[in-house]
């Protein structure tokens, strides 16, 4: 039966006019010396993501056309699922800047193996976040007002400027990857362009680090400056609240961990070894060390908040944790379960524990960051402020969830296409031959 189908298909016009030419193009776009899944299998694997993307785009379009009433956000939950997930994916996408910093500024050449993948991850994370932000605001056509009437005192201005600039930096860092594609290399001017671009890569990486540093921090600053929200408000170090530094630390710590986890996932899905062992080891060590610093800083910050900051605003800190389901377990989960534990696992991986604990540890650390962003966004708004106010909750609508899933699908599709046609893992060929 199958062979009849095959012969039917192979013999038809569809095959000659569409499938065969596609396969030829596909083959031409692929790099030499690497094996990739056959086109039909690839298309089949991508199909569900395309459907999710389509469905999500519909949800997003509804929000743009009919207005934000399509979401379940309201006047008390001004920030919802989108802001929370935006902050999370920006933190996860920090691997891009940190890997670039390690490679180009600190000259850790092992990072060459994963820099391309990190850049693509960063690019999809940031472009997805910006796309979601465009839907999240009530008047997207006025987005340029932040550049035209900037408020230098607002953390959100800083976030807007830096994220926009950093997205451009990521786009520029992504460009050489595209230009090095087998077909595009044939165009000499593009090759020259790419070569020149490579010369400024150090500058771009440094710029990216600088921008990333600031906007990761400003995202934390968004919550820390809210002097009228005792749950989120933190003391300032200089002009920045402590959450500024905590967010930078957590992003820097989790970024390499996310790169580690995604690399392992891609290796599993493609069935190939893509990086030498020393790369994930280094990533794990860096991530673990930074996580330990973060956990310490967070613990100190929490103690300061409990004993000094919160009481000074008239609020009894543990009262914030008296509304179910937000109990003190959240603090424990953030700092210990998803902070200290993965930190130790990542640092120790290879010595006392088997390497296979590295990836779950990295995933746990990423969940910790997600939990932290959730607490700062959602719990802050759920808590009552006025004495005759109530604890509220909110469940995202399907349009919100679908829009975000569209971003995830977009990321998967872009990454998959990049993996298929671009040289994401320079060590792949070497490892395949050995």
């Amino acid at each position: 039966m199958a062979s009849t189908m095959d012969s039917l298909v192979s013999g038809t016009l569809i095959n000659t006019k569409i499938i065969e030419p596609l396969k030829t193009v596909d083959g031409k776009l692929m790099a030499r010396g690497v094996r990739r899944a056959p086109l039909p299998k690839f298309l089949l694997a991508m199909a569900p993501w395309v459907v999710v993307l389509g469905f999500g785009l519909y949800g997003a379009w509804l929000c743009l056309y009919r207005g934000l009433n399509q979401t379940n956000m309201d006047n008390r939950f001004a920030f919802g699922l989108w802001i929370y997930l935006d902050l999370t994916i920006i933190a996860l996408g920090a691997g891009a800047f940190f890997t670039g910093f390690l490679l180009y500024v600190l000259r850790r050449t092992e990072m060459k193996a994963v820099i391309n993948s990190a850049v693509v991850i960063g690019f999809v994370c940031y472009s997805g976040a910006v796309a979601i932000l465009m839907i999240d605001v009530g008047q997207p056509l006025r987005a340029w007002f932040t550049f035209w009437h900037p408020n230098i005192h607002s953390m959100l201005t800083e976030v807007t400027f830096c994220i926009t600039c950093y997205l451009m930096v990521l786009a520029i860092e992504y460009t050489p990857l595209l230009l090095k594609n087998r077909q595009l290399r044939k165009v000499p001017s593009l090759l020259v362009f790419e070569f020149e671009l490579h010369k400024v890569m150090v500058v771009l990486a440094a710029l990216g680090t600088f921008l990333s540093f600031f906007h990761q921090g400003s995202l934390g600053g968004l919550y820390g400056v809210m002097s009228a929200r005792p749950f989120a408000f933190r003391e300032a170090i200089g002009i920045w609240p402590s959450t500024f530094f905590l967010f930078i630390l957590s992003a820097a710590a989790v970024g390499p961990g996310f790169v580690l986890a995604t690399t392992a996932l891609v290796e599993k899905l493609s069935g190939k070894k893509l990086v030498k062992d020393e790369v994930p080891a280094l990533l794990a060590k860096i991530s673990g060390s930074l996580l330990i610093v973060y956990v310490l800083a967070k613990a100190v910050d929490t103690l300061v908040w409990i004993n000094s900051t919160s009481p000074s605003t008239g609020a009894e800190p543990m009262s914030f944790y008296s509304h179910r389901p937000f109990g003190p377990w959240i603090l424990f989960a953030e700092i210990v379960v998803c902070g200290l534990v993965p930190a130790l696992l990542l640092r120790d991986g290879g010595k006392r524990l088997s390497l296979k604990w590295r990836v779950p540890a990295a995933a746990l650390a990423c969940s910790g960051v997600a939990l932290n962003r959730f607490v700062m966004t959602i719990q802050t708004q759920a808590l009552p402020t006025l004495p005759f106010d109530r604890f509220l909750s909110y469940t995202p609508s399907w349009q919100e969830t679908a829009s975000f899933l569209a971003v995830v699908a977009y990321g998967v599709l872009v990454y998959a296409l990049s993996f298929r046609y671009l040289n994401l893992f320079p060590e792949e060929r070497e490892l395949a031959n050995s």
Partner: protein
């Protein structure tokens, strides 16, 4: 030289142009324009243009008739916002929440702009536009056939009786054989009516009664919405000030936790329908504990004879069993009432059943025992509002309660607010009766009509404001029209004269609304009493008002006339505590002992009762008022009230 154009050239030119465009103002201008376009979307409505003027009128949705000041724009001036008239002697600048959106009601979706036939279908009530002549002819036909089929072929139910327009209607009806003019009971006045029927002799107040709000130290309200604009919203600031000064205590006895109960000093929840028992229980304590002042007790005809015996079973523990009020609370309340000047008010709350005559009877007895009809009492008499007589005969004025059941063939309802529940009205109609509604909106009683001949709405019609129920002195004001009414509406007077013509009756020429009102102004000036208020000014004596034309002018500019108080009686009049007939006494005993079965009413059609005293609701709700309920937690719905579970019995 040959010009060769390659693809590269085209590519470079295009790229260069794109880069150049970015550096030009074009994209930025486009962005700026798009920002402006988002502001001028098709949703942005046009606003009125023109001069801003201030005009005065009054809200005639309910009998309170609050004076209002309108901010109007353009020519012709359209009111855009309304507010109360500061310093007004009756309203004290108050306006109820509905009043602020009164100008929206002229275009309410339920507004009827011309005569229509009304039909009740499965999905609801529909109004189909008809020619005026058709409708009037149909109504005339109905009257003609009712002449043989019904005792009362034509009755006009006037929901706001006492106006000059009411007199004019009666004059027109006099020319139609068999036509009568029906007046509904006034809800707030029901307590006073009960008191009046108990008083004897010329010394007793014979005229209208009201409450001197400055007198009582304790007010026991049996569900009366005192903090929600009982009588007129203007009573609320007076009561609130006294309460805050500590010179007034309000005890709200009500099954439901109404907004008044929330603001009261004490809320005593009771089982619904047990008000009579509670009132008699308080009377029992007053009588048995010897708390009735001697000079008051002396004037009662039946205190020591039948009343003491009658009230004996209603001792506090028995009342507790019936109503749920703790016996100790009842006893201490009675003692508190006896200590200073106190007042008991019935009348019930809008949106629920009105208190029945038995309850009002018991409350009247309580008031009399407290000496409220006497010289120091809180119940005061007032002068009647001067009312000029009209030439010619007038149709008989019959209280609704005195109409025989099933006697009316054609009923014309003049008014918008549903001051009487429909079942009470329906019981007076024959089986094949025709109902004609003159209300401007398809709500309330007009939902039960077959024909609608809508009159102009408030703010479209020249009207007058009579003294609100419970007022301690008479007052008078004008409601001037601020906008032109829809062409096809007609005033009730016009309708009745055309109906009379269709019936072949000779109708006297009617004088026109302004002429009639000027005649009342003349009557007021001739009476020589009272003072005139003008906005922003001090009160002036009537003599300084500039005659009847001067008075009319001042009232057209937001003024009001307020009467002098009637000197009180030098001693308490003689009175009966029990109702006059045996039947009523037995009925009172039964209702008090057993409680009254109360319909857990279908309150869904009822409007938020702010200021709607006398109107249980069912005028159209401005959309802004619905917003108050839906978009805030202040009122969860216009009808929802919170009850005390323990005292609510299954109805």
């Amino acid at each position: 030289m040959r010009l060769s154009l390659t693809r590269r050239d085209v590519l470079f030119a295009a790229t260069g142009s794109a880069a150049g465009l970015v550096l030009s103002p074009v994209p930025w201008k486009l962005l700026g324009d798009s920002a402006i376009w988002t502001q001028r979307s098709r949703f942005a409505p046009e606003t009125l243009r023109g001069d801003i003027t201030t005009r005065f009128s009054a809200c005639t949705l309910c009998p309170a008739g609050c004076a209002l000041r309108a901010r109007c724009v353009g020519m012709p001036a359209v009111p855009v916002s309304l507010t109360g008239v500061a310093g007004h002697p009756v309203t004290h600048g108050a306006l109820c929440p509905t009043g602020f959106a009164l100008h929206h009601l002229t275009r309410h979706p339920l507004r009827l702009t011309g005569p229509a036939q009304i039909a009740r279908r499965k999905g609801g009530v529909e109004a189909t536009s008809r020619m005026a002549d058709t409708v009037i002819a149909s109504v005339a036909d109905a009257v003609r056939s009712a002449r043989t089929a019904a005792k009362v072929p034509l009755a006009v139910l006037d929901l706001r009786p006492g106006r000059m327009a009411s007199l004019e209607c009666r004059r027109l009806l006099a020319g139609i054989p068999g036509a009568i003019h029906v007046v509904p009971p006034s809800r707030e006045a029901s307590t006073f009516e009960a008191i009046r029927t108990r008083l004897e002799g010329a010394e007793g107040a014979v005229g209208p009664l009201g409450i001197d709000l400055d007198k009582p130290r304790t007010i026991v309200s049996f569900g009366a919405p005192l903090w929600e604009g009982w009588g007129t919203p203007g009573t609320v600031p007076v009561l609130v000030t006294r309460q805050n000064q500590g010179s007034l205590r309000l005890v709200q006895i009500e099954a439901h936790r109404s907004p008044t109960a929330e603001c009261a000093d004490r809320w005593l929840p009771i089982r619904p329908g047990t008000e009579a028992a509670v009132a008699l229980g308080l009377a029992h304590v007053l009588v048995t504990d010897g708390l009735v002042a001697p000079e008051v007790a002396r004037r009662a005809r039946d205190l020591d004879t039948s009343f003491r015996t009658f009230v004996a079973p209603f001792e506090p523990s028995a009342v507790e069993r019936i109503s749920g009020i703790p016996a100790s609370a009842l006893r201490s309340l009675a003692h508190e009432m006896a200590e200073g000047s106190s007042l008991a008010i019935g009348s019930g709350a809008p949106g629920t059943e009105p208190l029945g005559p038995e309850e009002e009877s018991a409350i009247a007895a309580l008031n009399l025992l407290l000496g409220n009809a006497g010289p120091n009492g809180s119940v005061v008499g007032r002068h009647e509002l001067p009312s000029p007589t009209l030439e010619g005969s007038l149709a008989t004025e019959v209280p609704l309660a005195e109409l025989a059941d099933g006697s009316v063939g054609v009923l014309v309802i003049d008014g918008a607010a549903e001051t009487v529940p429909w079942p009470v009205v329906a019981s007076k109609l024959t089986k094949t009766a025709t109902v004609v509604s003159l209300s401007p909106w398809l709500t309330g009683l007009s939902l039960h009509a077959s024909w609608a001949v809508p009159s102009p709405a408030p703010l479209e019609l020249l009207d007058e404001v009579l003294p609100p129920a419970g007022a301690p002195v008479a007052s008078w004001g004008l409601a001037l029209p601020l906008v032109a009414p829809p062409e096809r509406t007609m005033t009730p007077v016009t309708f009745l004269s055309r109906l009379a013509a269709a019936l072949g009756a000779t109708a006297p020429a009617h004088e026109g609304a302004e002429t009639l009102l000027r005649r009342r102004a003349a009557g007021i000036v001739a009476a020589g009493r009272g003072k005139v208020f003008v906005p922003g000014g001090a009160l002036m004596a009537i003599a300084d008002a500039g005659g009847s034309d001067g008075l009319y002018e001042k009232l057209s500019a937001g003024g009001a006339w307020i009467d002098d108080p009637l000197p009180g009686p030098t001693q308490s009049p003689r009175y009966m505590l029990l109702p006059p007939t045996q039947q009523e006494v037995a009925s009172l005993a039964a209702v008090a002992t057993l409680g009254r079965a109360v319909r857990q009413g279908d309150a869904s059609g009822y409007l938020d009762p702010e200021g709607y005293v006398g109107a249980t609701g069912a005028v159209p709700e401005p959309a802004i008022l619905g917003k108050l309920c839906r978009e805030s937690l202040l009122r969860t719905s216009t009808a929802a009230r919170r009850s005390m579970p323990v005292t609510i019995r299954e109805a």
